[in-house]
């Protein structure tokens, strides 16, 4: 077995456990890396230990003591290094109390703690839970690397100074805290899927990381909406190949070549949606997944069960008013009852002013006018949408629509 492979498989688990035992993100990270360095030096000669993870954790623990001793020489805030060293060296007491398997879950909940800024939660989760480098995160979110580094440093300082505990929240807080985790995962996915700016339409790596995170969460904490979120992302992702033309142009759902959809992935997702729905304790992600599943299972756009989709949007709105959801419902209404009804619904939403700056609202409005043969109103709406989007493929799509009028 080669060490690179072990690093990929084990480094996050080892880190998650070391953070609990050492009580500090930075010390744990340094110790984890030193443990792997020791493995590279020792394993080729001595052979890979029976339980590499246990070896890495215990070696990491002693490396952490070294790190703390070194740091205490010029950091007065580290008091009683020897006492600390003793408690780190013998973790048996805490080990019995707390399951090691929960460490990864502790890490997820700590990185997504609502006391941290939203963008810091995302950066910290990608860094610590997924093991992405600061540069990779910066590239994915199109922000300068020092900005990402600073967000991570600040978040770690807050975890330490405000004493954000390394724990899985209790039953009472679990639902709220899980929302925060799911939001972070979906944000990562959407950044990969919708790419708020830049040339390429999807940034596949981020989607893959988000799906991997959700799978981990399903394994550790199979709450209904965790299944729902995983299903939702799998369904979106199953259409990836059909979403862009060979030339990199955006293809709308109704116009996609459905033979390009990943049927095996859709089947996986549908099973997850059904399991989540069966609990009757599902949340908004499950409903969104159910909507995506209706699309995924329809042979053509016309043959889609639009009445079912409108009904599901109504259920979704029951979880809380949301103008973007209303917009999507209006588009489904147009498919069910005709473009005139859809246009009226979109105009009613825009009249409230909430989506006035949302490019997709104007693009949808343009589509309704186009379908009704109102060329000049359609052109006005498409132009308004163009003013509001910076994303290159979406701009080209709108320009094409304009030219076709």
């Amino acid at each position: 077995m080669d060490i690179d492979q072990i690093y990929r498989a084990e480094s996050r688990r080892v880190l998650a456990t070391l953070i609990r035992q050492v009580g500090d993100f930075d010390v744990a990270e340094e110790a984890m890396h030193e443990a792997f360095v020791a493995a590279v030096e020792q394993w080729p000669a001595q052979g890979v230990p029976d339980n590499p993870r246990a070896w890495l954790v215990s070696t990491g623990r002693f490396k952490a003591i070294d790190v703390l001793r070194r740091r205490s020489k010029h950091d007065v805030s580290i008091e009683d290094v020897e006492g600390l060293a003793e408690s780190i060296a013998d973790p048996s007491a805490t080990e019995e109390r707390e399951g090691v398997e929960d460490d990864r879950l502790r890490l997820v909940f700590t990185c997504c703690h609502p006391a941290l800024a939203a963008e810091a939660q995302v950066a910290l989760t990608l860094r610590e839970v997924c093991g992405l480098t600061t540069e990779e995160i910066a590239r994915a979110f199109v922000v300068p690397a020092p900005t990402v580094a600073q967000r991570i440093v600040r978040a770690k300082s807050k975890i330490r100074d405000a004493r954000i505990p390394y724990e899985v929240p209790g039953r009472g807080e679990l639902a709220d805290r899980l929302d925060s985790v799911l939001r972070v995962i979906y944000l990562v996915f959407n950044e990969g899927y919708l790419a708020s700016s830049g040339e390429s339409l999807t940034r596949r790596d981020l989607c893959a990381e988000a799906i991997r995170l959700a799978r981990l969460l399903v394994e550790l904490l199979p709450e209904p909406d965790v299944l729902g979120l995983l299903a939702l992302m799998l369904l979106h992702d199953s259409r990836r190949a059909a979403r862009t033309s060979p030339g990199g142009e955006l293809v709308l759902l109704t116009e996609q070549d459905r033979s390009l959809w990943d049927r095996a992935q859709i089947a996986d997702a549908v099973r997850l949606v059904e399991a989540a729905l069966a609990t009757r304790a599902f949340g908004p992600y499950t409903i969104q997944a159910a909507i995506a599943a209706v699309h995924a299972e329809a042979p053509t756009a016309e043959a889609t069960d639009w009445a079912e989709i409108v009904a599901l949007y109504d259920v979704l709105l029951g979880f809380g008013a949301n103008p973007v959801v209303e917009l999507n419902r209006a588009v489904a209404v147009a498919m069910r009852d005709g473009a005139e009804k859809g246009l009226a619904a979109i105009d009613a939403i825009l009249a409230r002013g909430e989506l006035a700056e949302y490019h997709l609202a104007h693009a949808a409005r343009g589509d309704m006018h186009r379908r009704l043969g109102h060329a000049s109103q359609a052109a006005d709406a498409y132009r308004k949408a163009l003013e509001l989007t910076r994303q290159a493929p979406e701009r080209r799509f709108l320009e094409r629509r304009l030219a076709e009028l």
């Binding site: 007065v76 805030s77 008091e79 703690h113 006391a115 100074d161 405000a162 004493r163 954000i164 505990p165 724990e167 929240p169 807080e173």
Partner: protein, 129 residues
């Protein structure tokens, strides 16, 4: 670990509150204080006079200058504080969420720090524990 919970309230809104409600709110605060004291989480708490009664003191080049009014004029002003003892931020947040004023405004939770002098970290308070 100690946390300072600063209670921010809209003074105008509070001024318009019927006397009976103010009375009930204050009684709930005193009741909670007893509860926190029994649970070992209470260090200190005070309710503050209106922001208009504030004076700001500055010393520059040895000279004291005074200005009338709060340091920052905002809609919601500090109306009171709790100094609490909590295991970690989650416990501090759960205490902050219990404050009877929390539904009326915002509670800012600030972790306290030690003062380091000559390499020794010392609690800022001189009060014996």
């Amino acid at each position: 670990m100690r946390y300072l919970c600063l209670i921010y309230l809209d003074e105008k809104q509070m001024g318009a509150m019927p006397e009976g409600e103010v009375n009930a709110l204050n009684a709930r605060h005193l009741e909670l204080n007893e509860q926190l004291l029994r649970g070992g989480q209470f260090v200190e708490a005070e309710a503050l006079q209106p922001a208009a009664d504030t004076s700001c003191v500055r010393v520059r080049n040895g000279k004291v200058t005074l200005t009338d009014g709060p340091y920052m004029e905002t809609k919601e002003m500090v109306a009171g504080f709790y100094l609490i003892e909590a295991r970690d931020l989650n416990e501090a947040i759960s205490v902050a969420a219990k404050l009877p004023s929390a539904p009326l405004g915002t509670v800012e939770v600030r972790p306290c720090r030690d003062l380091t002098v000559d390499g020794v970290a010392r609690r800022a308070s001189s009060k014996p524990r």
